[in-house]
C-alpha cells in the first residue's frame, strides 16, 4: 500500500540523511544527501504536490547537490576523507539529537496534529501561480533580489583575482 511506500521513503530519507553526515567519504556523503533530497521529493509526490516535488528535484538534486559535489571535488583528497570529531562532542550531539527528537516528537504526537487526516482533494497548482502574482508579488520581487544578491556575492567571493587588490599587492611588492 501507500503506507509501505511511505515507510520506504521515510527510511530512505532518514537513513540517507544519517549517511550523508556519517559516511567517511564526503563524496559518498554528498550522494547520500541527494538521496535525502530525493526522498523529500518523494514525500512531496505522496502529498499530491508534484509541482513542488519537481522543483525540489530540479533545484536541489539537480543543481544544489551537484554544486556541492563540485565543491567537494575542489578540495583536497585528505579533507574529503577526514572524520575526526571527538567522541565526547559526538555523544553530546547524539544526546541532543535524541532529546530534540523525543521531546518535539512527544509534543507533536500529543497535540491535535496526531489525528488529522484529510479526504479533500489536493489544491490545484494554478492557485500557486495566482498566489505568486497577486498576493505574494512583493515577496517574489524581494526573492529576485535575494537571488541577485547571493549570485553576485557568491561570485565576488569565489572569484580568484580581484584587480584592485592585485594592484595593491603589486604596489606593496615593489616597495
Amino acid at each position: 500500500m501507500v503506507d509501505t511506500l511511505f515507510l520506504g521513503i521515510a527510511v530512505l530519507t532518514i537513513v540517507s540523511a544519517i549517511a550523508a553526515l556519517e559516511m567517511r567519504s564526503l563524496v559518498y556523503g554528498g550522494i547520500a544527501l541527494m538521496g535525502t533530497l530525493g526522498g523529500i521529493a518523494g514525500f512531496f509526490i505522496l502529498l499530491d504536490s508534484p509541482f513542488v516535488a519537481l522543483f525540489q528535484i530540479a533545484v536541489y538534486v539537480g543543481s544544489i547537490a551537484v554544486l556541492i559535489l563540485f565543491t567537494i571535488m575542489l578540495v583536497k583528497r585528505e579533507l574529503i576523507f577526514q572524520k575526526k570529531e571527538d567522541t565526547k562532542r559526538r555523544y553530546a550531539g547524539i544526546g541532543l539529537m535524541l532529546i530534540v527528537m523525543i521531546s518535539l516528537g512527544a509534543v507533536v504526537f500529543n497535540s491535535g496534529i496526531s489525528s488529522i487526516t484529510t479526504d479533500e482533494p489536493a489544491v490545484d497548482y494554478r492557485e500557486i501561480g495566482e498566489d505568486f502574482l497577486i498576493y505574494y508579488w512583493p515577496a517574489l520581487v524581494a526573492m529576485a533580489l535575494v537571488l541577485a544578491g547571493s549570485v553576485t556575492g557568491a561570485m565576488i567571493l569565489a572569484r580568484r583575482h580581484d584587480e584592485v587588490e592585485d594592484e595593491v599587492e603589486d604596489e606593496q611588492r615593489t616597495d
Binding site: 518535539l104 509534543v107 507533536v108 500529543n110 497535540s111 491535535g112 496534529i113 497577486i134 498576493y135 505574494y136 508579488w137 512583493p138 515577496a139 520581487v141 524581494a142 526573492m143 533580489l145 535575494v146 541577485a148 544578491g149 547571493s150 553576485t152 556575492g153 557568491a154 565576488i156 567571493l157 580581484d162 584587480e163 584592485v164 587588490e165 595593491v168
Partner: protein, 494 residues
C-alpha cells in the same frame, strides 16, 4: 493588493533598482568605476528612501502602528520607525565606507549588497505576512554573509563570515520550521490571520503554537543576539569589516526585534501564554552575559559587540512586559531607534580608527583624544549614551524601559527585578565604557593629531547632535514612538 505608492514598495523600487544597477554598471564599465561614485549613488538612493519615508509620515499617509494587514506589507508607523532607523544605519555604513573601502576591491558589489540588505531590513519591519517576512529576512541576511566575508584576504573576516553563515542558515531553517508549524495549525501565512487563528486554537493544538513561537524566538533571537543564541555575534562583529559590523549591530539586529514584535509578541499574546516570564528571563540573561563578557575585552569591536548583546537584553525588557505596561513597547522602540544611532556611531568610530590607524585593540587607544579628537568625542558620547547617562538620548529610552518594568510591578512580581537587573547592568556597562574613555582621554601624552577621515567626522557630528538634542528634548521622538507603538491588547485584530 498593496498600493504601489506605499512606502515599502517605493523603497523596494528605489533601493532595489539601484542595488541591481550597480553591479551591472560595474560590469558595463569593466570594473573601472570609482568607489566614490558608487558610494554616492548608494547614498542618494538611501536618502531618497528615507526622504520618502519622512514624506509619507509628514503627509499622514501612514497608518498608526497597525500591526496587521490583509496584505504582505503594511505601510504603518511601526514599520516607518524601523525603516528610519535602518536607513540611518545604512547611511552610516555607506558614508563610513567611503574611507574604509578605499583601495579595496569590488566597491560596486559592496554598495549594492548594502542596499539589498537595507531593503531586507526595511521590508522585515513592514512585512505582515510570514512568507514576506521570511524572504525579507533572507534578503537582509544573505548579502550580509557576503559582506562580513568581504575581505577575502583576511582570514578573520572569513572566519567571521563562516560562523555567521552557519548560524544564519540554521536560524533560517528554524524560522521556516516555525512558520510551517504556525501555518499548519492556522492555515494561513498572513500574520494577522495566524494570530487570529492562534486565538481560536483548539486546546490540543496549543503546544504546536508554542513550538512555533519557541522556534521564532530562537530564529529571530539569533539576529537579536539573545542569550543563548548569541554565540556567533561577538566573533562575527569582531571579524567583520567595522562598517559591516555597524550594519549588523545597529541594523539587522533591530530587524530581529521588528520581526519578534510582529510575530513573537503578538503570537504569544494570542496564545495567551505565560511567555512574558520566559522573555524576561532571557532578557536578564542576555543583558547580564553581554555586559559581563564585555568587561576586560581587549578588542574595541568585540567589546561593542558584547555591549550590543547587553542592549538586546534591555530592549527585550520592553517586549517582555509589553502587556502590562503601556510604555514598555514604546521604550523598546525608542531604544531601538537610539541604539541604531548610538551603536552605529560607535562602530563607525571604530571604522574610522581602523581606517586611520588600523587599530582596534583597546590598549592602542591611548591618547586617542589627541590624535583624533572628533572621532574620540563621538565615541565617548555614544558610549555614554549607550550607558544611559543623561542628558543623552540613551537615557530616555532606558528610562522608559526601566520605568515600564517598575510599572509592570503592579501586575507581575518580577517586573521590578527586570528594572533592577537593568540598572545594575547599565552601571556595570560603565565599567568598560569608562575604561575606554580612560584610555582615550586620560592616558598617553605623546600623540599628535592626525587627519581624521571626513566621512567619519560627518557621521560623528551628526550622531553627537542627534544624541544630545534628543537627550535634552526627547519629546518629538517620544511622540513618534507613541504613534508607532501598537496597542498590544486592543490591537490584536486586523
Amino acid at each position: 493588493m498593496i498600493e504601489l505608492t506605499s512606502t515599502p514598495i517605493i523603497i523596494l523600487a528605489i533601493l532595489g533598482g539601484v542595488g541591481v544597477a550597480l553591479p551591472v554598471i560595474n560590469i558595463a564599465l569593466k570594473e573601472r568605476g570609482s568607489m566614490i561614485s558608487y558610494g554616492i549613488a548608494t547614498l542618494i538612493a538611501l536618502f531618497a528612501a528615507i526622504g520618502y519615508v519622512l514624506y509619507q509620515l509628514a503627509l499622514d499617509h501612514v497608518a498608526p502602528a497597525a500591526i496587521f494587514s490583509q496584505d504582505v506589507l503594511v505601510d504603518d508607523a511601526f514599520g516607518s520607525l524601523f525603516a528610519i532607523a535602518m536607513l540611518i544605519v545604512a547611511i552610516f555604513t555607506t558614508v563610513g565606507s567611503f574611507n574604509y573601502m578605499k583601495n579595496k576591491a569590488n566597491p560596486s558589489i559592496y554598495f549594492s549588497l548594502i542596499l539589498l540588505s537595507a531593503i531586507g531590513m526595511v521590508l522585515v519591519a513592514y512585512a505582515t505576512d510570514l512568507v514576506m517576512l521570511f524572504v525579507a529576512w533572507e534578503l537582509m541576511s544573505i548579502p550580509t554573509y557576503v559582506l562580513v566575508g568581504f575581505l577575502k584576504k583576511d582570514p578573520i573576516s572569513n572566519e567571521a563570515a563562516i560562523k555567521y553563515f552557519l548560524f544564519g542558515a540554521l536560524a533560517s531553517a528554524i524560522i521556516i520550521y516555525g512558520i510551517s508549524l504556525a501555518y499548519g495549525i492556522t492555515g494561513s501565512t498572513n500574520i494577522g490571520e495566524v494570530i487570529q487563528g492562534f486565538m481560536v486554537l483548539d486546546a490540543n493544538m496549543i503546544p504546536i503554537g508554542l513550538l512555533a513561537v519557541g522556534m521564532f524566538i530562537a530564529g529571530f533571537g539569533f539576529k537579536m543576539g539573545l542569550v543563548p543564541f548569541h554565540m556567533w555575534l561577538p566573533d562575527t562583529y569582531e571579524g567583520a569589516p567595522p562598517t559591516i559590523a555597524t550594519l549588523l549591530a545597529a541594523g539587522t539586529k533591530k530587524a530581529g526585534f521588528a520581526a519578534a514584535l510582529r510575530v513573537v509578541v503578538m503570537g504569544s499574546v494570542a496564545l495567551s501564554l505565560d511567555w512574558t516570564l520566559a522573555l524576561g528571563i532571557i532578557a536578564v540573561m542576555t543583558m547580564t552575559v553581554g555586559n559581563i563578557a564585555a568587561v576586560m575585552q581587549k578588542n574595541l569591536a568585540r567589546m561593542l559587540a558584547y555591549s550590543s548583546i547587553g542592549h538586546a537584553g534591555y530592549i527585550l525588557i520592553g517586549l517582555s512586559i509589553a502587556p502590562f505596561s503601556g510604555i514598555g513597547l514604546q521604550g523598546s522602540l525608542f531604544h531601538i531607534l537610539n541604539h541604531a544611532v548610538m551603536k552605529g556611531a560607535a562602530f563607525i568610530a571604530v571604522a574610522g580608527l581602523v581606517t586611520a590607524l588600523a587599530v582596534t585593540h583597546v590598549e592602542k587607544l591611548k591618547g586617542l583624544a589627541r590624535r583624533m579628537p572628533i572621532t574620540s568625542l563621538g565615541l565617548v558620547i555614544s558610549l555614554l549614551a549607550l550607558a544611559g547617562v543623561p542628558p543623552l538620548s540613551g537615557f530616555w529610552s532606558k528610562l522608559m524601559l526601566f520605568g515600564a518594568a517598575i510599572d509592570a510591578g503592579t501586575v507581575v512580581w518580577w517586573g521590578p527585578w527586570l528594572a533592577i537587573a537593568g540598572v545594575l547592568n547599565s552601571a556595570l556597562s560603565l565599567a568598560y565604557y569608562g575604561w575606554i574613555i580612560r584610555k582615550m582621554y586620560f592616558e598617553g601624552e605623546k600623540e599628535k593629531r592626525i587627519k581624521e577621515p571626513k566621512s567619519i567626522i560627518a557621521i560623528m557630528i551628526f550622531s553627537i547632535i542627534f544624541m544630545v538634542t534628543i537627550g535634552v528634548y526627547p519629546e518629538p521622538i517620544i511622540q513618534f514612538t507613541e504613534f508607532a507603538t501598537p496597542a498590544i491588547n486592543a490591537g490584536l485584530m486586523p
